[in-house]
């Protein structure tokens, strides 16, 4: 029973409220898990654990070895994108569950 945008104005009962919170929180944790996987992959994965293997490949058209690029440039760019994606997804989630701020 996921409330959609049209039910926003409807007052919820206490039990509904608890379920709504629970569903919202689970959706939130799923978003976090997805974004943090990418976070882990680009930094700890590409920048550290697999850096030697990736260093055998070049970023096309540049002097960057791929592992080196991830460790000193690519991971940072990805982090920025991750936070802005998070902002976007969470704002939508807040609205869908009626927890957004006026």
């Amino acid at each position: 029973m996921r409330p959609n945008d049209t039910t926003r104005a409807t007052p919820y009962s206490a039990a509904d409220e608890a379920t709504r919170l629970d569903l919202y929180w689970r959706a939130n944790v799923r978003v976090l898990a997805a974004l943090l996987s990418v976070w882990f992959l680009v930094s700890f994965g590409c920048g550290i654990l697999f850096v030697d293997a990736l260093n055998t490949v070049r970023l096309p058209g540049t002097g960057f070895k791929l592992g080196f690029w991830f460790a000193q440039q690519g991971s940072i760019y990805t982090f920025i994108v991750l936070i802005f994606v998070y902002v976007f997804v969470m704002n939508r989630l807040d609205r869908r569950y009626g927890f957004d701020e006026e």
């Binding site: 919170l21 919202y24 929180w25 939130n28 944790v29 976090l32 974004l35 943090l36 976070w39 930094s43 700890f44 920048g47 550290i48 654990l49 850096v51 030697d52 260093n55 970023l59 540049t62 002097g63 960057f64 070895k65 592992g67 080196f68 690029w69 460790a71 000193q72 440039q73 991971s75 940072i76 760019y77 982090f79 920025i80 991750l82 936070i83 802005f84 998070y86 902002v87 969470m90 704002n91 807040d94 009626g98 927890f99 957004d100 701020e101």
Partner: protein
């Protein structure tokens, strides 16, 4: 105009600007003083956070560290930026919803425990004091090198400036000054970077120049540098030298430490809504990344420049900047073999022609890569003055943020919330100002007469924040079951282990400070990640033996998890 005149002019104008802004935005209530009345726009807060965060070490030392350690130094780049992802996703929005003034507030209220609050206050004070001492030292050093005043006078001038805007303006004054300081420091960092990138790689964007070919050739800059390194017996610049586990642990400790540093966290209390806290973290990282992605480029340009200029060059014919910086002790040349030329080579280097071992004759300090960059590249005098102003902006903005944590910890966490709950708003505001003044004095004293551990501050501050605040706060939000017994036991275990390990190698037995003696090859920089794991493990273990937190605490956790109603939480907190 000569360098001295330009530097005096630019630094003077920037200081006048900071003080002017502070006087215009004086704090009138504790809400203004602690969290700037919670009315800061997210982009403005992002910029202020970036200045708050980027310290003298980021501005002056980081490019140099990368320059000397190549790929291994990526731990700083990833650690100090990736922490913002943790902060944005796991801490900032929930803490904003919680809506009190400080980090110990959250720890104390969530775990409903005065003891937990006190542990958090002590950790916050310790982290902030060690860190602020390094900033004041940085101020003194910049003054000493560029303006020809001694370190003591330099620190004193810095203290007066910080005093005016942190003590009078509180968070409100600090926020707007930090915005100005961000602009000064990023401009000062980028101008030489762009000039040099154009000159070396023929591209105005340093991040692209780094991956380009050397002007007029078809050799990539990075290949050229790796070639020079091979020739001179240094480890390859773009390949890994440190063990994976050390890089992993160090990156994790710096990330969790970044997310847990109190002076960064409180910046997210200053925005109006939860969604602004999320957005603000994104802007903060974007502003920080401008400097952090330029630093690797500066590192490579400077390294290549240094190697080609000094390697095997006759000492007599070295350029003027070399002699000038030799006077400061940042570059030292000892002619071991007496041939009058500079042999700058890696450890165990053997001359391929004669088969004789050659010893290194040149010692170069990390800091020189940024400080002397404009001179090495032959840039105009005003750029040199700009770099001085940028270094000062970085140090002062961070010092101010830390002083605010110190004063808030004392007036709010210790007086108002623990020992003198009946204190009036007026008295609390004056207590905050008094604590900030004492903090400025202590920080200045530590800066003038550093107790020898300023360079170890990084390991300490980040390790302790990673092992205490990050787990305590995240468990408080993500686990309803976590109770005070678990949280306190976890924090104490994390702090004791991490603090003990760092103290063991840095103070008690510095002669043992080498990879073969470390636990699992993890250096003191990275040990905070083990401390953090220990904190989580102890906390979950201990919490099982005690009842879950009472209903009103569980309700608090539920309320923190949803964004709606952030304003009201604030009203409840400040009657």
């Amino acid at each position: 105009m000569d360098v001295q005149a330009w530097t005096t002019l630019i630094v003077g104008v920037s200081f006048a600007l900071y003080i002017g802004i502070a006087l215009k935005s004086r704090a009138r209530s504790t809400g203004d003083f602690y969290v700037a009345g919670k009315g800061i726009h997210p982009i403005v807060n992002g910029m202020a956070t970036a200045a708050d965060w980027m310290s003298a070490a980021s501005f002056i030392s980081m490019a140099g560290i990368i320059s000397f350690r190549g790929l291994d130094a990526s731990v700083y780049l990833m650690g100090w930026t990736g922490g913002y992802v943790l902060l944005a996703l796991l801490l900032a929005p929930y803490l904003r919803k919680f809506g009190r003034f400080t980090v110990p507030d959250f720890v104390g209220d969530r775990y409903d425990s005065r003891a937990a609050r006190l542990v958090a206050v002590v950790a916050a004070l310790f982290v902030s004091f060690t860190y602020v001492a390094g900033q004041m030292r940085g101020v003194g050093v910049v003054f000493g090198r560029f303006l020809d005043v001694d370190v003591e006078t330099g620190v004193l001038i810095g203290m007066v400036v910080v005093f005016v805007y942190a003590v009078l303006g509180g968070m409100k004054g600090i926020t707007y000054t930090q915005v100005a300081q961000y602009c000064v420091l990023i401009f000062a960092y980028l101008v030489p970077a762009i000039f040099i990138s154009l000159y070396v790689a023929g591209h105005a964007v340093p991040q692209i120049g780094l991956g380009s070919t050397v002007t007029g050739t078809s050799t990539f800059l990075l290949d050229r540098l790796d070639g020079l390194h091979t020739e001179l017996g240094f480890p390859l610049y773009t390949e890994r030298g440190a063990p994976r586990i050390e890089m992993f642990a160090a990156t994790l400790a710096l990330m969790a430490g970044t997310a847990g540093l109190p002076h960064v966290i409180i910046r997210f209390y200053t925005v109006p809504r939860v969604r602004d806290a999320r957005l603000s973290a994104g802007w903060a990282l974007a502003f920080i990344a401008i400097l952090y992605t330029s630093a690797p480029a500066i590192a490579v340009f400077a390294r290549t420049n240094l190697l080609t200029t000094v390697s095997n060059a006759p000492y007599e014919s070295l350029p003027e900047w070399f002699k000038k910086w030799e006077g400061t002790g940042l570059i030292r040349f000892e002619d071991h073999n007496g041939d009058g030329r500079v042999q700058y080579v890696g450890r165990g280097f053997v001359d391929p022609a004669s088969g004789e071992p050659v010893s290194n004759e040149l010692h170069v300090d990390n800091d020189i890569m940024v400080l002397a960059n404009p001179e090495i590249a032959g840039l105009p005098n005003w750029v040199i003055g700009l770099v001085a102003a940028g270094g000062l902006a970085a140090a002062l903005s961070t010092a101010a943020g830390l002083l605010l944590v110190i004063s808030t910890s004392i007036s709010h966490d210790l007086l108002k919330r623990t020992f003198v709950p009946s204190i009036s708003e007026r008295a609390e505001l004056w207590a905050a100002r008094g604590a900030a003044s004492v903090g400025v004095g202590l920080a200045g004293w530590l800066g003038i007469d550093p107790p020898g551990f300023v360079s170890e501050v990084v390991a300490f501050a980040f390790g302790l924040a990673a092992a205490s605040f990050f787990p305590a706060i995240s468990m408080g939000i993500f686990s309803r079951r976590m109770n005070r017994q678990g949280a306190i036991a976890g924090m104490l275990a994390g702090l004791a282990f991490t603090g003990g390990y760092i103290a063991w190698f840095k103070f008690l037995h510095p002669e043992l400070d080498a990879r073969e003696n470390y636990l699992w090859q993890i250096s003191p920089i990275g040990i905070g990640s083990v401390g953090m794991a220990l904190n989580f493990a102890v906390a979950f273990g201990v919490s099982r033996f005690f009842p879950p937190p009472p209903a009103h605490i569980q309700a608090l956790v539920s309320s923190v998890r949803v964004p709606r109603g952030a304003g009201e939480a604030h009203e409840l907190a400040v009657p």
